[in-house]
Symmetry: C2
Subunit: 343 residues, 2 copies
């Protein structure tokens, strides 16, 4: 399986690292032999080699500051990434560039380019799925291709595979979860007595929060994930405007203490049904499975007709954790690939 990888930040490097350490095991266990033939970035050009790029050299180049440091001699100053995707032979586009929840671009154009030239698409990038899921699915189906995006919600913790495959046959009435690790870390620290500003500073120090933490603390990151869940679970398109969003900046130590006294705790709860989406800090009883989810961990509870509540708890971010999401999607495509070949 030949891969084009767009974006070579933390997540793309995570995938390269996993393929380097697990390549032999993947071949032995699943007969799966993924090869990164191309890496594309907007700022540092593109690399391509039909037999596959050297993973260790790629990772070393990233350490040194960019693809231009790649030891092989295959760097192109090609900044027209959609054209590069169209004209480069490969089986799957792995989209791991930076999310833009306003436009979904330029990643959506990359996905279109791939699907129009017979390449499956695997994304860690939330934008194209949050904004253009129906169009991309239609384009994929029309061309007999697959779009997968496990890494867009809860990193590699298989929240979407659980809902869309393992729970197939159940109706999911609602998804409700802790979908942003930064805010959960801050609320956890506040529960242990820290004030908001100190907790935020610590989150930034640990790399959980950006220098500008707005997208996390105001709830927009979680809201973007709700758009993806709405599309995946219900085939519904919500816009960010249609989600009721409140962040955690208004939560005071007094609020936290009042909750504690009542055997409750504050969590930033993201919730989606076929009709309604919201992100808001809520007091939940300590008996709720989401109450025990602390630090940067994420969790989601699916309310189902046949099983009742099913809750999944796990990592919501991280280099290898999100890199694994891409690998899991690639393995799933590899498995179904056998079907396509025989149809």
């Amino acid at each position: 399986v030949k891969l084009l990888l767009v974006g070579f930040g933390v997540v793309g490097q995570g995938l390269a690292e996993i393929l380097m350490t697990k390549g032999a095991a993947l071949r032995a266990q699943y007969g799966f032999n993924p090869v990164i033939v191309g890496v594309g970035t907007r700022s540092h050009g593109t690399l391509y080699h039909p037999d596959g790029l050297e993973l260790d050299a790629l990772l070393a180049a990233a350490q040194q500051g960019g693809l231009q440091h790649y030891a092989g001699r295959c760097l192109q100053k090609d900044n027209d990434i959609p054209n590069w995707i169209r004209t480069t032979p490969a089986d799957v586009l792995v989209e791991a560039s930076i999310t833009n929840l306003q436009t979904g671009q330029p990643a959506t154009d990359y996905c279109r380019a791939a699907l129009e030239t017979d390449k499956h698409v695997v994304l860690a990038n939330k934008g194209p799925i949050a904004l253009h899921y129906a169009e991309l699915q239609k384009l994929a189906r029309y061309n007999g291709l697959t779009v997968r995006f496990e890494g867009t919600v809860m990193a590699g913790t298989p929240s979407l595979t659980l809902a869309m495959e393992a729970l197939a046959g159940c109706t999911i009435h609602e998804a409700r979860g802790i979908l942003n690790g930064t805010t959960n870390f801050i609320l956890t620290q506040m529960t242990q007595g820290m004030d908001y500003a100190t907790a935020l500073a610590q989150a930034q120090q640990l790399g959980y929060a950006e220098a500008d933490p707005t997208a996390d603390v105001d709830g927009w990151d979680a809201a973007g994930k709700l758009l993806i869940l709405a599309a995946a679970l219900y085939g519904k398109k919500f816009t960010l405007d249609e989600i009721s969003v409140t962040g955690i900046t208004g939560i005071t130590p007094a609020d936290i203490e009042a909750a504690r006294q009542a055997n409750e705790c504050y969590k930033l709860i993201a919730r989606i049904t076929p009709d309604f989406g919201s992100v808001s800090p809520q007091r939940i009883p300590l008996s709720d499975p989401l109450a025990a989810v602390s630090g940067a961990t994420n969790a989601i509870t699916y309310k189902t007709d046949l099983l009742g509540d099913v809750t999944l708890v796990g990592a919501g971010a991280g280099r290898l954790q999100t890199g694994f999401a891409l690998l899991a999607d690639l393995i799933a495509i590899h498995r179904q690939g056998n079907i396509k070949a025989f149809y």
Copy 2:
């Protein structure tokens, strides 16, 4: 897809009820049309109709006391179930008879009969998987068939699909969970101040515990599930003798209170690694995701190399909950069925 169902207790009836209410949706959504052509019981004979039995009449007969009350005229006094399985045309054997963890019988013979006559096997029965997994898998593979058993651990909550499919590509170093709902219910009630005897009586009243609660409270039910996890995750065969098993009967209100004082709680923790299995009451911190799992709910945490801890929380028993496990396995076989047809 034509099904033979062996055992028509709570779980078998749960499946029939789901197929009755969801039949149309399953056909529309997955192109999946399961039909129960035969039901076999040791005590009440067998029913068979090549076009499928009437689900409402089957459920009505069960309400009235047994298959002999089925309104159709197709009852056979056939008590040689293995022979009935061999000679009855069908695609899948659904094994939902009573678990025997000492011998795995008679269910293991039923599975052999099915696999030797070109029928996939789906089980809610723990015995054959706990004791004879390797043999049954080998027989299945030799005949190009599938054995699935989601319902044997945590009912329909997809603990096995999560580990074996959604986490494919991760190495699971350990599984650790609350795998018995009865004991978790009793410990939860004790945490709220009830003594052991009263909590047990209440569990029996609510139908969570048997009249003879030994298998649950002494830890053997959870140990049986560890045998299944060892086989599924590691391809290892443990015997019950090799699992270190301690039940909850020794836990006193004083123990519970001491744990509470230390911000901890008691849970009956079942744990399996490639080398070691144990079931024992343990004090765990309230920050552990398993700590918030209360009442008859079950949970499992997989320790993985790439994702860290992944925890799944959900129902561990119940009519529809276990019935759904059988449906989920049937849908999975239906999906892969396309592959088989084209090889």
